[in-house]
Each structure stands twice: as C-alpha cells, then as structure tokens.
Amino acid sequence: MRILFILLIVFQSNSLKADEINYLLKIPNLKTFSLNNENGIKYLIAKKNFKIGVQNNISCDKLEKKNLDNKFSLIKRNLDLYDNIFLKKINLRFIVLCQNLYISKINTAGIPDLKKRTLILDLEFNEKYFERVIHHEVFHLIQGSFPEIFNEEAWSNLNKKGFKYADCSTCTDKLGLDIYKNTDGFLTEYSKTIPSEDMAEVYSFYVTDKENLEKIKKIDPIIFKKAEYIETKIKKINNL
C-alpha cells in the first residue's frame, strides 16, 4: 500500500506543482492577475501550459503577454456588465485566461465549471466574435445555475415543426458563428447544434448586439419568441 502511495506521489509530482491556486481551483500553473474588482471577479492567467479533467482531457497553453495586453480590457469591460449579486446567482467568481483551449482535442472558446465557479477562456479563440463569445460562455453558467428556468424542451418547441437539433454540440460540423442573412429561426449555424447553444447564441446577441437583434426580431417571428424568452428569464433571475 505504501509503495502505491509513493507511486501516486511520484505521478502527481510530475503532473503538477502545488500552490494555493491549485489548492482552491484544482487547476495547476496559474497565477493571479487581477483580484480587486468591484463585482468580485478574480482573474487568473496561465503561467505555463496545464491539463486538467478526466484523463487530462482539458488542456490550455500559457498565455502570451501580447494576448493579455490586447484582450484583457475588453474581457473586463464585458464582465463588468454583471454585478456582484448576479455573479453570485450564476456561480461565477474566477476567470482563467489562457490560449489554445481544448476539450477532448476539440478547440473551444470557454469551459464553465459551476462547482468551482470558474470560467476558462481561450484568448486566441475567434478574434472576430471574441466579445460575443464571452457572453455565450457566461450563459452556460446562467443556464447551469438555473436549469429549471431555461427549459430546453420549451425552447425547442419555439422552432418550426420538424426541426431537430444535433445530439451534441460537437456532433456536427455546423460550428459557424457568422450571423445568417436569412435567420429563419436561428441566428448562426452554431445555434442549430443543441438547445443550450442556441439559447447561448441568442443571449450573446442580446447582450452585445441588441440593436441588430431588435431588427431581426421584427422580421423573424421565431427569433422574436426566442429573444423574448431569454429576456423574460434573465429578468426573472434578476428579480430572485
């Protein structure tokens, strides 16, 4: 038994270096970047590459200074839209900034973790829509914190009869984030993957491009219903 414990320690010592951030978040190789923010968000950055999760299936690389310099103010400006009370409700406290974020070898913009109240963000993901992507990922925390409010079946019923989402968000190659010229119930190609991604896409437009969303609502009755659904539910959370 003792030999096995020694092997466990040797294995662990190769994979991570103990520090207080890893103690709290179970993510190695991070350093604090900005802690004293009005809404309580604490920003951490990857000082080295890290791997976490089941069989280390989540990986992200050390954040380059140029990416931090270019993107941090934009990230902060967007997350400052949420106040401390709302962030507590949706279980968001820590933002981990890194680059080349992969989950099971699939590049992703962000990974939310409700239990640890953490959102990992890839600062190199999709330059064009990066700002919108932040809110898309925040929505996953909102929905995860209030699954009973964001009912996926009710949401699916807002679509045209006969439409079927994919089995999972990565089960399809429809990953485009460009807004459709003819929306027809979906703002982007990625909206068609699964209900939660569709909701997250509508929410991200609701926060970052409300003006455009209002125009689309006038000509697309399904988007109208979806946008109203999101707005009503967010107001409900605000009033809790």
Partner: protein, 217 residues
C-alpha cells in the same frame, strides 16, 4: 634505519585545514539535523490573554502554537472546532497536506490520525457530526497565520479538517470559513515536513495535541 621526514609548511596548513573542515562539518551536521534549533520557546505564563475561552494551544515537534479563535466571525464553525478540541479528537492528527511555505492541512479524524492513518483515504474522512454550513466573511483577509475550515469543491461541506496559512493568500478571501488566527508560534509550523513537488506528504508530521487553554495545565 628509518629516516624521519619533516612535514612541509604546505602539508601542515593542509592538515590544519582538514581538521577545521571536519569540526565545521560535524557542528553543521548537528545544527542542520536539529530543525527546531532557532524556534523560540513560548512561555504561557508570560502571556496575558484577553479572552481565554477562545484560545487553543497546539503542540507540534518544534514547539507551541497559540491560536485565537474568532467566534464573532464564524460562531457555528468555531463551536464545532472547539468541540473536537475539547474532546482531544485532533491529538495525533497528521499534517498530510502541506504546500511548502504556504499552507498546512490537518484534522482528518477518520483517516489522518497517527493511530489510523490511511494513505489512500486521508483527506476524505468524515467526523461523526457531519458537514456544517460555510460561514464566509467577505471582508476577512486570509493572511499568514489565518486558520480556516477545509471544504470540498462546494460550500457547506466543512467538517473537521482545517488549514493554517504560512503566507498571505488574498485569493482565499470570501472562499473559506475563517475560524482563527495564530497569535504565537507560527515559526514552529514552518518546520512541518513538506515536499517540494507535491502537496501530499509521505510519512507526514503529526501534531501532538490540540487543547483549549482552559484545559491546559
């Protein structure tokens, strides 16, 4: 006939140098071996505690550690901690998780005691009282000497385990239930066994006993 050869000046100097080196090594070896050499001893009689009922005393290999509990911040957690202390439940508890110069964790009553340490299960033990709710004080600064209750990934999972910080960790503010502060003897805790590469310690150090000042003779 044996011819006597006189040592040259260089050989004499080398000889003296080797003797001095041996003496220095000998003294140095014993100094290093005694890890508690430079730890000041605490004399309880010389300390005037304003509120004796909130003082607990921990004895570790290198000396005494005095902790002032903070019932005003975390009344339920402090009450729970005092219950275990007064029962002697922490006596022989291992510092099985140590982040060098940063944090010590102990208090697993089920799998972390010197009498029953289980290297596979230590850290997952439960007390017979079950978990209690977190008492988070968003203003409490977790500085060197702060004592907090350990929790799982989620809040409201605190039980018997506690940690003591060896340095300021602002990141912990609002994350853990603070139960006290080391007011004397933090140096003795810096000598607790740790590893450079991992936070889990093989053959860890143990605290000898943890008592309320009122129980101390």
């Amino acid at each position: 006939m044996i011819k006597k050869i006189k040592a040259s000046m260089g050989e004499k100097i080398l000889f003296i140098f080797l003797i001095l080196l041996a003496i220095t090594s000998f003294v140095f070896f014993y100094t290093i071996k005694n890890k508690c050499l430079f730890i000041d001893k605490i004399d309880l009689k010389k300390i005037n505690f304003p509120n004796k009922s909130n003082i607990v005393i921990m004895n570790v290999e290198c000396g005494m550690v005095i902790i002032e509990l903070l019932p005003n911040l975390s009344p339920n957690s402090v009450e729970r901690f005092k219950f275990f202390v007064s029962n002697g439940d922490y006596d022989g508890s291992s510092f099985y998780r140590v982040i060098k110069n940063t944090l010590l964790q102990a208090g697993d009553l089920e799998f972390g005691n010197i009498e029953n340490i289980d290297y596979f299960k230590v850290g997952s033990g439960k007390s017979k009282l079950g978990p209690i709710n977190s008492e988070i004080d968003s203003q409490f600064e977790f500085n060197a000497g702060s004592v907090g209750l350990v929790r799982g990934d989620e809040f409201n999972t605190e039980d018997s385990e506690f940690f003591i910080l060896l340095k300021n960790v602002p990141l912990f503010k609002g994350e853990y239930t603070p139960i006290g502060k080391v007011i004397y003897g933090l140096d003795a805790l810096t000598k607790i066994k740790s590893s450079d590469k991992t936070e889990y310690v093989l053959r860890p150090d143990f605290l000898s006993d943890l008592k309320l000042l009122e129980q101390y003779n």
